[in-house]
């Protein structure tokens, strides 16, 4: 079993906050306000990120927008190859997505397979007028034709490296660390 070694702190709590504030402004600018706007966080770490973006938007525009939680486990394309079945959690989207501008939020964009699964899951829930993608870190190495509309930080990485995102709500602190398999 190979171990992970911390290599570098990519983002601290302040730079995460600034990244999310910028993303919130970009979302509002691109969509000209909050009309029909909804956010959906991908479990696990996309959820607190989506809630934070919603809070920033509330601060900026004074309007609250709905936030949903998406679990993509049942849509994964590797279920027949992994030996340990990932635990399925509940999807909690208590609003109709049809006709909405839906911003999907996740922590790291890597191969694009999670986003592919999320798109399939969302389309089963209804027909949003648009789906956009916001991520805290884009680390490259896409295996599918998928790109993000809003990016907190672009980080060129090698396949030997791992991006570890820690968030206050889940991990007790805000930090993005570059780690290496040794």
């Amino acid at each position: 079993m190979r171990e992970l070694k911390d290599k570098k702190v990519l983002m601290d709590d302040e730079s995460i906050r600034r990244g999310l504030v910028r993303i919130s402004h970009e979302i509002l600018e691109k969509n000209k306000g909050t009309e029909n706007l909804v956010l959906v966080g991908i479990r696990t770490r996309g959820v607190p990120l989506a809630k934070r973006v919603a809070a920033h938007i509330q601060e900026i525009e004074g309007k609250s927008i709905p936030v949903g939680i998406l679990d993509i486990t049942l849509y994964r394309d590797d279920l027949s190859t992994v030996t340990q079945q990932p635990i399925v959690h509940k999807t909690e989207i208590d609003f109709d997505v049809t006709g909405k501008i839906l911003v999907l939020v996740d922590d790291v964009l890597y191969t694009g397979r999670t986003v592919r699964a999320a798109l399939d899951a969302l389309i089963d829930l209804g027909r949003p007028s648009q789906i956009q993608l916001a991520v805290l870190v884009d680390r490259g190495h896409r295996e599918l034709p998928i790109r993000a509309d809003y990016v907190g930080k672009n980080v060129p990485t090698s396949n030997q490296e791992v991006i570890h995102v820690a968030l206050e709500e889940i991990d007790g602190e805000d930090q993005v660390i570059l780690q290496e398999l040794v």
Binding site: D71, T73, L74, Y75, L79, S80, V82, T83, Q84, Q85, P86, I87, V88, H89, K90, T91, E92, D120, A121, D124, L125, G126
Partner: protein, 314 residues
């Protein structure tokens, strides 16, 4: 813990608390799919699931079928009356045939105890026991526990009473194993001829008077009187059973205000349960049906990743 130890679900005897909790937690996520417009997810695309029923069944078979279809599996239904069983094919040969067709999961109901275990020793597919004689019916107990957990918040510490023909009931047996594992107190009540005293050794409280047994019970699970298994005269008459052990108007004063009333169905109204109980707000018999599909989906999901693995049987 994110997987089950066995690739089969033959019974709840020996299944751990962590495993049962995992199934119930997964079922909770599966139930959400019912609230969607498109009640289907692609999880089991390409997997083949077979319903192999040697005994009649409507709801269990339909429940498994819907669970498989909601997960996008290829479902096949075989019943003994319309298959090569009537031509004399053995169980193992039927299993081998299904294996050759690529079955990943076989759900079996059979009148002989241990038949599911026998099949599991001869085919590579995961076997789910949908009732083998009077041995076990684990998915019914799992959906009962899921319903209890959903309505009561937890299972541990609750007093659960099982009423009726305990002796012939595979539902009772699986519930007893599962509930005790989850930390519930289990009581049984029924005519002395229909209660196996061995259950006392497991820690089950045995009652012979319904009114006494109901005192303090948080959950009452009413078993169907299986008329097809009552030919030996274990009690004098259906009418007498109804009078002493039927859940009817007479017992209403003995029910807790927040009691949860379960029945695995199909109900013999006027025998073990009267309409006044079945229609009571505290009865969740129809919801058990929905929960049954969610629980079976959870089991399919958890077993599907195990289908191609070998393991030793013990």
């Amino acid at each position: 813990m994110s997987s089950l130890k066995s690739k089969h679900m033959l019974g709840l005897d020996g299944v751990t608390r962590e495993e049962i909790s995992l199934i119930l937690k997964t079922a909770e996520a599966m139930k959400e799919i019912f609230t969607r417009k498109v009640k289907k997810v692609p999880t089991l695309t390409g997997k083949t699931v077979v319903n192999l029923f040697y005994e009649p069944s409507t709801r269990t078979r339909a429940s498994f079928e819907l669970a498989g279809k909601m997960l996008s599996a290829n479902m096949m239904n075989l019943s003994s009356s319309s298959s090569s069983v009537v031509k004399g094919e053995s169980l193992i040969d039927t299993g081998k045939t299904l294996e050759a067709m690529g079955a990943d999961i076989i759900i079996m109901r059979h009148s002989a105890q241990g038949s599911c275990k026998l099949l599991s020793q001869h085919v590579k597919a995961s076997i789910i026991n949908a009732g083998d004689g009077n041995h076990e019916h684990p998915t019914q107990a799992l959906l009962d526990m899921f319903t209890i957990k959903e309505k009561k918040g937890q299972i541990e510490g609750l007093t659960v009473l099982i009423v009726g023909d305990i002796l012939h009931s595979r539902v009772a047996r699986s519930n007893i194993f599962g509930l005790l594992t989850m930390g519930a107190k289990v009581r049984v009540v029924g005519p002395a001829t229909l209660i196996p005293v061995e259950y006392k050794k497991l820690g089950v409280e045995v009652f012979y008077t319904l009114e006494d047994a109901l005192q303090g019970a948080d959950v009452v699970n009413i078993l169907r009187i299986q008329r097809e298994r009552q030919k030996k005269g274990m009690f004098p008459s259906i009418r007498e059973f109804h009078r002493f052990y039927g859940m009817n108007e007479r017992i209403i004063p003995y029910l807790k205000d927040d009691v949860l009333i379960l029945h695995p169905g199909p109900m013999n109204q006027g025998v073990e349960i009267d309409p006044i109980i079945a229609l009571d707000d505290r009865a969740v018999i129809e919801e058990q049906v929905t929960n049954g599909v969610a629980t079976r989906m959870a089991l399919f999901y958890l077993l599907a990743g195990r289908g191609n693995q070998n393991e030793d049987l013990n």
